[in-house]
Symmetry: C2
Subunit: 266 residues, 2 copies
Protein backbone atom coordinates (compact mmCIF):
# COMPACT_ATOMS: atom_id res chain seq x y z
CA UNK A 1 0.00 0.00 0.00
CA UNK A 2 2.76 2.41 0.92
CA UNK A 3 4.42 2.08 -2.44
CA UNK A 4 1.14 2.93 -4.08
CA UNK A 5 0.91 6.30 -2.38
CA UNK A 6 0.73 9.43 -4.38
CA UNK A 7 4.01 10.83 -5.55
CA UNK A 8 5.77 12.78 -2.87
CA UNK A 9 8.36 15.39 -3.23
CA UNK A 10 11.71 13.94 -4.18
CA UNK A 11 15.00 15.52 -3.28
CA UNK A 12 17.93 14.55 -5.45
CA UNK A 13 21.39 14.43 -3.98
CA UNK A 14 24.11 16.23 -5.84
CA UNK A 15 26.55 13.93 -7.63
CA UNK A 16 30.08 14.26 -6.35
CA UNK A 17 33.18 12.65 -7.78
CA UNK A 18 36.22 11.79 -5.70
CA UNK A 19 36.94 9.67 -2.65
CA UNK A 20 34.11 7.60 -1.19
CA UNK A 21 31.78 9.59 1.03
CA UNK A 22 28.75 8.74 3.05
CA UNK A 23 26.18 8.01 0.40
CA UNK A 24 22.62 9.24 0.71
CA UNK A 25 19.81 7.79 -1.33
CA UNK A 26 17.34 10.14 -2.90
CA UNK A 27 14.77 10.61 -0.22
CA UNK A 28 11.18 11.62 -0.46
CA UNK A 29 9.43 14.05 1.81
CA UNK A 30 5.76 13.13 2.07
CA UNK A 31 3.15 15.82 2.10
CA UNK A 32 1.44 16.46 5.40
CA UNK A 33 -2.03 15.82 4.02
CA UNK A 34 -0.91 12.52 2.50
CA UNK A 35 0.53 11.43 5.80
CA UNK A 36 -2.69 12.13 7.62
CA UNK A 37 -4.73 10.51 4.86
CA UNK A 38 -2.53 7.42 4.94
CA UNK A 39 -2.88 7.16 8.70
CA UNK A 40 -6.64 7.37 8.63
CA UNK A 41 -6.79 5.03 5.62
CA UNK A 42 -4.88 2.35 7.42
CA UNK A 43 -7.04 2.63 10.49
CA UNK A 44 -10.13 2.27 8.35
CA UNK A 45 -8.85 -0.65 6.30
CA UNK A 46 -7.45 -2.42 9.34
CA UNK A 47 -10.91 -2.40 10.80
CA UNK A 48 -10.12 -0.11 13.72
CA UNK A 49 -12.69 2.36 12.43
CA UNK A 50 -15.80 0.46 11.50
CA UNK A 51 -18.42 1.44 8.98
CA UNK A 52 -20.34 4.49 10.11
CA UNK A 53 -17.82 5.62 12.71
CA UNK A 54 -17.70 9.40 12.93
CA UNK A 55 -14.26 10.98 12.82
CA UNK A 56 -13.67 13.99 15.09
CA UNK A 57 -14.76 17.29 13.59
CA UNK A 58 -12.21 19.14 11.48
CA UNK A 59 -11.35 21.71 14.12
CA UNK A 60 -10.70 19.00 16.64
CA UNK A 61 -8.49 17.12 14.18
CA UNK A 62 -6.56 20.36 13.74
CA UNK A 63 -5.92 20.47 17.49
CA UNK A 64 -5.01 16.80 17.71
CA UNK A 65 -2.71 16.67 14.69
CA UNK A 66 -1.11 20.08 14.97
CA UNK A 67 -1.81 20.67 11.28
CA UNK A 68 -3.74 23.52 9.76
CA UNK A 69 -7.33 23.20 8.81
CA UNK A 70 -6.64 23.40 5.08
CA UNK A 71 -4.27 20.47 5.37
CA UNK A 72 -6.70 18.42 7.40
CA UNK A 73 -9.41 19.19 4.89
CA UNK A 74 -7.21 18.07 2.01
CA UNK A 75 -6.58 14.78 3.76
CA UNK A 76 -10.30 14.26 4.30
CA UNK A 77 -10.92 15.14 0.70
CA UNK A 78 -8.46 12.51 -0.48
CA UNK A 79 -10.25 9.85 1.53
CA UNK A 80 -13.59 11.07 0.28
CA UNK A 81 -12.45 10.61 -3.31
CA UNK A 82 -11.25 7.14 -2.41
CA UNK A 83 -14.74 6.49 -1.06
CA UNK A 84 -13.36 5.69 2.36
CA UNK A 85 -15.14 8.61 3.98
CA UNK A 86 -18.46 10.23 3.47
CA UNK A 87 -18.57 13.86 4.51
CA UNK A 88 -21.77 15.62 5.44
CA UNK A 89 -22.04 19.31 6.23
CA UNK A 90 -24.11 20.99 8.89
CA UNK A 91 -24.63 20.21 12.51
CA UNK A 92 -24.61 16.47 13.15
CA UNK A 93 -22.51 16.17 10.02
CA UNK A 94 -18.86 15.29 9.83
CA UNK A 95 -16.73 12.59 8.28
CA UNK A 96 -18.12 9.07 8.45
CA UNK A 97 -16.26 5.91 7.65
CA UNK A 98 -17.52 4.10 4.58
CA UNK A 99 -15.95 0.99 3.16
CA UNK A 100 -15.51 1.22 -0.59
CA UNK A 101 -17.62 -1.16 -2.63
CA UNK A 102 -18.91 -1.83 -6.11
CA UNK A 103 -19.64 1.79 -6.83
CA UNK A 104 -16.10 2.78 -6.18
CA UNK A 105 -14.80 0.02 -8.41
CA UNK A 106 -17.22 0.76 -11.20
CA UNK A 107 -16.27 4.41 -11.06
CA UNK A 108 -12.58 3.83 -11.47
CA UNK A 109 -13.12 1.30 -14.22
CA UNK A 110 -15.15 3.86 -16.11
CA UNK A 111 -12.45 6.48 -15.61
CA UNK A 112 -9.81 4.13 -16.95
CA UNK A 113 -11.96 3.08 -19.88
CA UNK A 114 -12.55 6.65 -20.92
CA UNK A 115 -9.08 7.85 -20.03
CA UNK A 116 -7.28 5.14 -21.93
CA UNK A 117 -9.75 5.19 -24.79
CA UNK A 118 -10.13 1.46 -24.37
CA UNK A 119 -11.53 -0.11 -27.49
CA UNK A 120 -15.00 -1.51 -27.54
CA UNK A 121 -13.60 -4.88 -28.59
CA UNK A 122 -11.51 -4.93 -25.45
CA UNK A 123 -14.62 -4.41 -23.40
CA UNK A 124 -16.33 -7.23 -25.20
CA UNK A 125 -13.38 -9.55 -24.77
CA UNK A 126 -13.30 -8.82 -21.09
CA UNK A 127 -16.96 -9.48 -20.80
CA UNK A 128 -16.62 -12.75 -22.69
CA UNK A 129 -14.12 -13.78 -20.06
CA UNK A 130 -16.05 -12.69 -17.01
CA UNK A 131 -19.73 -13.04 -17.62
CA UNK A 132 -19.89 -16.78 -18.41
CA UNK A 133 -18.12 -17.37 -15.12
CA UNK A 134 -20.72 -15.19 -13.40
CA UNK A 135 -23.48 -17.23 -14.98
CA UNK A 136 -21.91 -20.49 -13.84
CA UNK A 137 -21.61 -19.23 -10.28
CA UNK A 138 -25.14 -17.89 -10.41
CA UNK A 139 -26.44 -21.32 -11.39
CA UNK A 140 -24.70 -22.86 -8.40
CA UNK A 141 -25.57 -20.26 -5.79
CA UNK A 142 -28.78 -18.58 -6.82
CA UNK A 143 -31.43 -18.08 -4.19
CA UNK A 144 -35.12 -17.84 -4.95
CA UNK A 145 -34.87 -14.10 -4.50
CA UNK A 146 -32.16 -13.95 -7.15
CA UNK A 147 -34.39 -15.92 -9.46
CA UNK A 148 -37.29 -13.58 -8.86
CA UNK A 149 -35.07 -10.65 -9.71
CA UNK A 150 -33.96 -12.31 -12.94
CA UNK A 151 -37.55 -13.05 -13.89
CA UNK A 152 -38.56 -9.46 -13.14
CA UNK A 153 -35.80 -8.05 -15.27
CA UNK A 154 -36.64 -10.42 -18.07
CA UNK A 155 -40.32 -9.60 -17.94
CA UNK A 156 -39.45 -5.92 -18.12
CA UNK A 157 -37.20 -6.54 -21.10
CA UNK A 158 -39.95 -8.38 -22.95
CA UNK A 159 -42.51 -5.75 -22.05
CA UNK A 160 -40.30 -2.96 -23.31
CA UNK A 161 -41.45 -3.52 -26.87
CA UNK A 162 -40.12 -0.69 -29.00
CA UNK A 163 -39.09 1.50 -26.08
CA UNK A 164 -35.39 1.15 -26.66
CA UNK A 165 -34.26 3.04 -23.58
CA UNK A 166 -36.42 0.84 -21.41
CA UNK A 167 -35.08 -2.22 -23.21
CA UNK A 168 -31.52 -1.18 -22.50
CA UNK A 169 -32.27 -0.48 -18.86
CA UNK A 170 -33.90 -3.86 -18.43
CA UNK A 171 -31.01 -5.48 -20.23
CA UNK A 172 -28.41 -4.01 -17.92
CA UNK A 173 -30.61 -4.87 -14.96
CA UNK A 174 -30.74 -8.51 -15.97
CA UNK A 175 -27.01 -8.76 -16.51
CA UNK A 176 -26.34 -7.20 -13.12
CA UNK A 177 -28.82 -9.59 -11.53
CA UNK A 178 -26.89 -12.54 -12.95
CA UNK A 179 -23.68 -11.19 -11.49
CA UNK A 180 -25.27 -10.58 -8.11
CA UNK A 181 -26.66 -14.11 -8.00
CA UNK A 182 -23.07 -15.35 -8.31
CA UNK A 183 -22.31 -13.86 -4.90
CA UNK A 184 -18.76 -12.87 -5.73
CA UNK A 185 -18.32 -9.22 -4.81
CA UNK A 186 -15.33 -8.73 -7.05
CA UNK A 187 -16.99 -10.20 -10.12
CA UNK A 188 -20.10 -8.18 -9.35
CA UNK A 189 -18.04 -5.02 -9.28
CA UNK A 190 -16.23 -5.81 -12.52
CA UNK A 191 -19.41 -6.76 -14.30
CA UNK A 192 -21.43 -3.76 -13.26
CA UNK A 193 -18.68 -1.45 -14.41
CA UNK A 194 -18.40 -3.32 -17.68
CA UNK A 195 -22.13 -3.40 -18.31
CA UNK A 196 -22.42 0.32 -17.83
CA UNK A 197 -19.57 1.08 -20.15
CA UNK A 198 -20.71 -1.31 -22.84
CA UNK A 199 -24.22 0.00 -22.51
CA UNK A 200 -22.98 3.56 -22.95
CA UNK A 201 -21.02 2.54 -26.00
CA UNK A 202 -23.82 0.65 -27.73
CA UNK A 203 -26.61 3.03 -26.94
CA UNK A 204 -27.34 3.48 -30.59
CA UNK A 205 -30.79 3.25 -32.03
CA UNK A 206 -29.93 1.59 -35.30
CA UNK A 207 -27.99 -1.14 -33.54
CA UNK A 208 -30.71 -2.28 -31.21
CA UNK A 209 -33.09 -3.25 -33.97
CA UNK A 210 -36.02 -5.60 -33.54
CA UNK A 211 -34.00 -8.65 -34.52
CA UNK A 212 -31.32 -8.05 -31.95
CA UNK A 213 -33.93 -7.38 -29.31
CA UNK A 214 -35.72 -10.61 -30.07
CA UNK A 215 -32.50 -12.63 -29.99
CA UNK A 216 -31.47 -11.02 -26.73
CA UNK A 217 -34.76 -11.82 -25.06
CA UNK A 218 -34.55 -15.41 -26.22
CA UNK A 219 -30.99 -15.83 -24.97
CA UNK A 220 -31.84 -14.32 -21.61
CA UNK A 221 -34.75 -16.66 -21.23
CA UNK A 222 -32.66 -19.73 -21.91
CA UNK A 223 -29.88 -18.62 -19.58
CA UNK A 224 -32.38 -17.84 -16.85
CA UNK A 225 -33.76 -21.35 -17.26
CA UNK A 226 -30.32 -22.86 -16.83
CA UNK A 227 -29.80 -20.83 -13.69
CA UNK A 228 -33.20 -21.91 -12.42
CA UNK A 229 -32.24 -25.54 -12.98
CA UNK A 230 -28.89 -24.96 -11.28
CA UNK A 231 -27.22 -26.21 -14.44
CA UNK A 232 -23.98 -24.28 -14.32
CA UNK A 233 -22.54 -25.94 -17.42
CA UNK A 234 -25.46 -24.85 -19.57
CA UNK A 235 -25.57 -21.40 -18.01
CA UNK A 236 -21.96 -20.84 -18.83
CA UNK A 237 -22.23 -22.20 -22.35
CA UNK A 238 -25.30 -20.18 -23.19
CA UNK A 239 -23.91 -17.02 -21.69
CA UNK A 240 -20.76 -17.44 -23.74
CA UNK A 241 -22.85 -17.77 -26.88
CA UNK A 242 -24.93 -14.79 -25.92
CA UNK A 243 -22.12 -12.34 -25.24
CA UNK A 244 -20.04 -13.55 -28.17
CA UNK A 245 -23.00 -13.11 -30.46
CA UNK A 246 -23.60 -9.64 -29.13
CA UNK A 247 -19.95 -8.75 -29.60
CA UNK A 248 -20.00 -9.99 -33.19
CA UNK A 249 -23.11 -8.00 -33.94
CA UNK A 250 -21.60 -4.90 -32.41
CA UNK A 251 -18.40 -5.36 -34.36
CA UNK A 252 -20.49 -5.67 -37.53
CA UNK A 253 -22.29 -2.40 -36.87
CA UNK A 254 -19.00 -0.82 -35.90
CA UNK A 255 -17.37 -1.79 -39.18
CA UNK A 256 -20.35 -0.50 -41.07
CA UNK A 257 -20.87 2.79 -39.30
CA UNK A 258 -17.57 3.61 -37.63
CA UNK A 259 -19.26 3.95 -34.30
CA UNK A 260 -16.88 4.66 -31.45
CA UNK A 261 -16.96 4.91 -27.72
CA UNK A 262 -19.44 7.51 -26.71
CA UNK A 263 -19.37 9.82 -23.73
CA UNK A 264 -21.31 7.93 -21.02
CA UNK A 265 -22.91 11.23 -20.09
CA UNK A 266 -25.36 11.01 -22.95
Amino acid sequence: MQSAEHPSRTVRGRATAGEPRPRFDTLTVPKASDVLAAEVRERILSGEFTEGTALPPERQLVEQTGLSRATVREALRILEVERLLEIRPGRGGGAFVHRPGRESLANTVRLVIRGQRIRLEDLHETREAIEPACAALAARRRTDADLAELDDAHADLVAAGDDIQRFLRANIHWHNAVARAGENELLIGFMSALSQSIHAATNIEQFMDADIRRLTARAHARITEAIRDRDSEAAMRRMTRHVCGFARAAAEVDRRDGVDLIDPEN
Copy 2:
Protein backbone atom coordinates in the same frame (compact mmCIF):
# COMPACT_ATOMS: atom_id res chain seq x y z
CA MET B 1 -20.30 10.46 -15.04
CA GLN B 2 -22.24 13.27 -13.48
CA SER B 3 -24.40 10.93 -11.47
CA ALA B 4 -21.30 9.33 -10.11
CA GLU B 5 -20.05 12.53 -8.52
CA HIS B 6 -19.44 12.74 -4.83
CA PRO B 7 -22.45 13.46 -2.72
CA SER B 8 -23.36 17.10 -2.75
CA ARG B 9 -25.31 19.06 -0.26
CA THR B 10 -29.00 18.39 -0.52
CA VAL B 11 -31.64 20.91 0.41
CA ARG B 12 -35.03 19.52 1.25
CA GLY B 13 -38.11 21.54 0.53
CA ARG B 14 -40.57 22.05 3.31
CA ALA B 15 -43.78 20.09 2.92
CA THR B 16 -46.85 22.28 2.68
CA ALA B 17 -50.45 21.16 2.64
CA GLY B 18 -53.18 23.01 0.77
CA GLU B 19 -53.85 24.03 -2.79
CA PRO B 20 -51.40 23.03 -5.53
CA ARG B 21 -48.35 25.24 -5.73
CA PRO B 22 -45.32 25.38 -7.93
CA ARG B 23 -43.45 22.24 -6.93
CA PHE B 24 -39.71 22.22 -6.52
CA ASP B 25 -37.67 19.05 -6.46
CA THR B 26 -35.01 18.64 -3.85
CA LEU B 27 -32.02 20.24 -5.41
CA THR B 28 -28.38 19.68 -4.73
CA VAL B 29 -25.78 22.39 -4.42
CA PRO B 30 -22.44 21.05 -5.64
CA LYS B 31 -19.29 22.01 -3.86
CA ALA B 32 -17.10 24.53 -5.62
CA SER B 33 -14.08 22.26 -5.69
CA ASP B 34 -16.16 19.44 -7.16
CA VAL B 35 -17.42 21.72 -9.89
CA LEU B 36 -13.94 22.75 -10.87
CA ALA B 37 -12.69 19.18 -10.64
CA ALA B 38 -15.55 17.96 -12.83
CA GLU B 39 -14.84 20.63 -15.41
CA VAL B 40 -11.17 19.79 -15.65
CA ARG B 41 -11.94 16.06 -15.59
CA GLU B 42 -14.24 16.36 -18.57
CA ARG B 43 -11.72 18.35 -20.51
CA ILE B 44 -9.08 15.74 -19.82
CA LEU B 45 -11.27 12.77 -20.64
CA SER B 46 -12.68 14.39 -23.73
CA GLY B 47 -9.17 14.70 -25.05
CA GLU B 48 -9.02 18.48 -25.02
CA PHE B 49 -6.11 18.29 -22.58
CA THR B 50 -3.68 15.70 -23.84
CA GLU B 51 -1.23 13.70 -21.79
CA GLY B 52 1.50 15.90 -20.37
CA THR B 53 -0.35 19.17 -20.83
CA ALA B 54 0.46 21.62 -18.05
CA LEU B 55 -2.47 23.30 -16.35
CA PRO B 56 -2.05 26.95 -15.40
CA PRO B 57 -0.34 27.50 -12.04
CA GLU B 58 -2.60 27.56 -9.01
CA ARG B 59 -2.52 31.33 -8.58
CA GLN B 60 -3.51 31.81 -12.17
CA LEU B 61 -6.37 29.34 -11.80
CA VAL B 62 -7.48 31.38 -8.80
CA GLU B 63 -7.66 34.47 -10.98
CA GLN B 64 -9.42 32.71 -13.84
CA THR B 65 -11.99 30.86 -11.76
CA GLY B 66 -12.66 33.46 -9.11
CA LEU B 67 -12.27 30.79 -6.43
CA SER B 68 -9.89 30.82 -3.53
CA ARG B 69 -6.62 29.04 -3.61
CA ALA B 70 -7.66 26.44 -1.06
CA THR B 71 -10.64 25.52 -3.23
CA VAL B 72 -8.56 25.30 -6.37
CA ARG B 73 -6.07 23.18 -4.53
CA GLU B 74 -8.79 20.83 -3.33
CA ALA B 75 -9.99 20.39 -6.88
CA LEU B 76 -6.49 19.60 -8.07
CA ARG B 77 -6.11 17.19 -5.19
CA ILE B 78 -9.25 15.35 -6.20
CA LEU B 79 -7.96 14.88 -9.71
CA GLU B 80 -4.59 13.82 -8.38
CA VAL B 81 -6.22 11.06 -6.34
CA GLU B 82 -8.11 10.00 -9.46
CA ARG B 83 -4.76 9.80 -11.19
CA LEU B 84 -5.86 12.32 -13.80
CA LEU B 85 -3.24 14.85 -12.76
CA GLU B 86 0.29 14.61 -11.58
CA ILE B 87 1.39 17.51 -9.45
CA ARG B 88 5.01 18.49 -9.08
CA PRO B 89 6.28 21.22 -6.76
CA GLY B 90 8.99 23.75 -7.38
CA ARG B 91 9.75 25.97 -10.32
CA GLY B 92 8.84 24.27 -13.58
CA GLY B 93 6.40 22.21 -11.59
CA GLY B 94 2.65 22.40 -11.72
CA ALA B 95 -0.24 20.13 -12.57
CA PHE B 96 0.27 17.86 -15.56
CA VAL B 97 -2.38 15.82 -17.28
CA HIS B 98 -1.96 12.09 -16.88
CA ARG B 99 -4.40 9.55 -18.21
CA PRO B 100 -5.22 6.93 -15.62
CA GLY B 101 -3.96 3.46 -16.41
CA ARG B 102 -3.35 0.08 -14.91
CA GLU B 103 -1.90 1.27 -11.63
CA SER B 104 -4.94 3.36 -11.01
CA LEU B 105 -7.18 0.37 -11.58
CA ALA B 106 -5.01 -1.95 -9.55
CA ASN B 107 -4.99 0.54 -6.71
CA THR B 108 -8.73 0.79 -6.47
CA VAL B 109 -9.16 -2.93 -6.76
CA ARG B 110 -6.81 -3.40 -3.85
CA LEU B 111 -8.70 -0.81 -1.82
CA VAL B 112 -11.97 -2.58 -2.47
CA ILE B 113 -10.51 -5.97 -1.71
CA ARG B 114 -9.18 -4.83 1.62
CA GLY B 115 -12.11 -2.60 2.41
CA GLN B 116 -14.74 -5.22 1.72
CA ARG B 117 -12.65 -7.99 3.23
CA ILE B 118 -13.18 -9.97 0.06
CA ARG B 119 -12.61 -13.65 0.60
CA LEU B 120 -9.61 -15.36 -0.87
CA GLU B 121 -11.90 -17.81 -2.65
CA ASP B 122 -13.55 -14.90 -4.40
CA LEU B 123 -10.19 -13.75 -5.64
CA HIS B 124 -9.46 -17.21 -6.92
CA GLU B 125 -12.80 -17.53 -8.63
CA THR B 126 -12.25 -14.23 -10.34
CA ARG B 127 -8.85 -15.29 -11.45
CA GLU B 128 -10.21 -18.56 -12.76
CA ALA B 129 -12.55 -16.52 -14.91
CA ILE B 130 -10.06 -14.01 -16.21
CA GLU B 131 -6.67 -15.59 -16.53
CA PRO B 132 -7.53 -18.41 -18.94
CA ALA B 133 -8.97 -15.78 -21.26
CA CYS B 134 -5.76 -13.80 -20.95
CA ALA B 135 -3.77 -16.90 -21.87
CA ALA B 136 -5.94 -17.52 -24.91
CA LEU B 137 -5.50 -13.95 -26.11
CA ALA B 138 -1.79 -14.13 -25.42
CA ALA B 139 -1.49 -17.20 -27.62
CA ARG B 140 -3.16 -15.34 -30.45
CA ARG B 141 -1.38 -12.02 -30.17
CA ARG B 142 2.00 -12.66 -28.61
CA THR B 143 4.99 -10.97 -30.15
CA ASP B 144 8.51 -12.30 -29.94
CA ALA B 145 9.21 -9.70 -27.29
CA ASP B 146 6.32 -11.03 -25.21
CA LEU B 147 7.71 -14.52 -25.56
CA ALA B 148 11.14 -13.37 -24.46
CA GLU B 149 9.60 -11.79 -21.39
CA LEU B 150 7.76 -14.98 -20.55
CA ASP B 151 10.93 -17.03 -20.96
CA ASP B 152 12.85 -14.61 -18.77
CA ALA B 153 10.28 -14.76 -16.03
CA HIS B 154 10.17 -18.52 -16.22
CA ALA B 155 13.93 -18.84 -16.11
CA ASP B 156 13.97 -16.62 -13.05
CA LEU B 157 11.30 -18.74 -11.41
CA VAL B 158 13.27 -21.93 -12.02
CA ALA B 159 16.48 -20.33 -10.85
CA ALA B 160 14.87 -19.13 -7.64
CA GLY B 161 15.42 -22.51 -6.00
CA ASP B 162 14.58 -22.20 -2.32
CA ASP B 163 14.47 -18.41 -2.30
CA ILE B 164 10.74 -18.14 -1.80
CA GLN B 165 10.50 -14.38 -2.09
CA ARG B 166 12.31 -14.50 -5.41
CA PHE B 167 10.06 -17.34 -6.50
CA LEU B 168 6.96 -15.32 -5.72
CA ARG B 169 8.29 -12.27 -7.53
CA ALA B 170 9.09 -14.32 -10.61
CA ASN B 171 5.70 -15.95 -10.40
CA ILE B 172 3.83 -12.66 -10.39
CA HIS B 173 6.10 -11.39 -13.15
CA TRP B 174 5.23 -14.34 -15.37
CA HIS B 175 1.50 -13.99 -14.78
CA ASN B 176 1.65 -10.30 -15.60
CA ALA B 177 3.63 -11.05 -18.72
CA VAL B 178 0.89 -13.41 -19.90
CA ALA B 179 -1.70 -10.71 -19.39
CA ARG B 180 0.39 -8.11 -21.20
CA ALA B 181 0.88 -10.42 -24.16
CA GLY B 182 -2.91 -10.52 -24.50
CA GLU B 183 -2.88 -6.82 -25.37
CA ASN B 184 -6.16 -6.04 -23.67
CA GLU B 185 -5.58 -3.11 -21.35
CA LEU B 186 -8.60 -3.83 -19.23
CA LEU B 187 -7.73 -7.45 -18.65
CA ILE B 188 -4.16 -6.44 -17.94
CA GLY B 189 -5.37 -4.03 -15.28
CA PHE B 190 -7.68 -6.55 -13.66
CA MET B 191 -5.08 -9.26 -13.68
CA SER B 192 -2.26 -7.20 -12.25
CA ALA B 193 -4.50 -6.07 -9.41
CA LEU B 194 -5.60 -9.64 -8.79
CA SER B 195 -2.09 -11.07 -8.91
CA GLN B 196 -0.85 -8.59 -6.37
CA SER B 197 -3.70 -9.25 -4.00
CA ILE B 198 -3.51 -13.01 -4.31
CA HIS B 199 0.22 -12.85 -3.91
CA ALA B 200 -0.15 -10.81 -0.75
CA ALA B 201 -2.65 -13.32 0.59
CA THR B 202 -0.62 -16.43 -0.14
CA ASN B 203 2.74 -15.13 0.90
CA ILE B 204 3.10 -17.88 3.43
CA GLU B 205 6.19 -19.96 3.71
CA GLN B 206 4.57 -23.24 4.55
CA PHE B 207 2.27 -23.01 1.57
CA MET B 208 4.88 -22.53 -1.08
CA ASP B 209 6.60 -25.82 -0.40
CA ALA B 210 8.90 -27.55 -2.84
CA ASP B 211 6.10 -29.60 -4.36
CA ILE B 212 3.96 -26.62 -5.19
CA ARG B 213 6.95 -24.81 -6.60
CA ARG B 214 7.80 -27.72 -8.85
CA LEU B 215 4.23 -28.04 -10.08
CA THR B 216 4.02 -24.32 -10.72
CA ALA B 217 7.20 -24.28 -12.76
CA ARG B 218 5.97 -27.23 -14.80
CA ALA B 219 2.60 -25.63 -15.50
CA HIS B 220 4.19 -22.35 -16.50
CA ALA B 221 6.48 -24.15 -18.90
CA ARG B 222 3.62 -25.95 -20.60
CA ILE B 223 1.50 -22.81 -20.86
CA THR B 224 4.42 -20.86 -22.23
CA GLU B 225 4.87 -23.54 -24.87
CA ALA B 226 1.23 -23.26 -25.90
CA ILE B 227 1.61 -19.50 -26.22
CA ARG B 228 4.78 -19.99 -28.22
CA ASP B 229 2.90 -22.30 -30.60
CA ARG B 230 0.01 -19.84 -30.81
CA ASP B 231 -2.27 -22.61 -29.62
CA SER B 232 -4.91 -20.62 -27.81
CA GLU B 233 -7.07 -23.64 -27.01
CA ALA B 234 -4.25 -25.37 -25.19
CA ALA B 235 -3.11 -22.19 -23.48
CA MET B 236 -6.59 -21.59 -22.12
CA ARG B 237 -7.07 -25.20 -21.00
CA ARG B 238 -3.73 -25.42 -19.29
CA MET B 239 -4.11 -22.06 -17.58
CA THR B 240 -7.48 -23.13 -16.26
CA ARG B 241 -5.95 -26.27 -14.82
CA HIS B 242 -3.09 -24.30 -13.36
CA VAL B 243 -5.12 -21.64 -11.55
CA CYS B 244 -7.77 -24.12 -10.43
CA GLY B 245 -5.08 -26.36 -9.01
CA PHE B 246 -3.51 -23.46 -7.23
CA ALA B 247 -6.86 -22.40 -5.81
CA ARG B 248 -7.55 -25.93 -4.55
CA ALA B 249 -4.15 -26.13 -2.92
CA ALA B 250 -4.66 -22.75 -1.28
CA ALA B 251 -8.09 -23.76 -0.06
CA GLU B 252 -6.56 -26.91 1.41
CA VAL B 253 -3.93 -24.95 3.33
CA ASP B 254 -6.58 -22.47 4.35
CA ARG B 255 -8.79 -25.17 5.81
CA ARG B 256 -5.84 -26.67 7.62
CA ASP B 257 -4.33 -23.52 9.06
CA GLY B 258 -7.13 -20.98 9.09
CA VAL B 259 -5.02 -18.58 7.10
CA ASP B 260 -6.84 -15.43 6.12
CA LEU B 261 -6.25 -12.39 4.00
CA ILE B 262 -3.10 -10.72 5.13
CA ASP B 263 -2.34 -7.03 5.17
CA PRO B 264 -0.63 -6.39 1.80
CA GLU B 265 1.77 -4.10 3.61
CA ASN B 266 3.85 -6.99 4.92
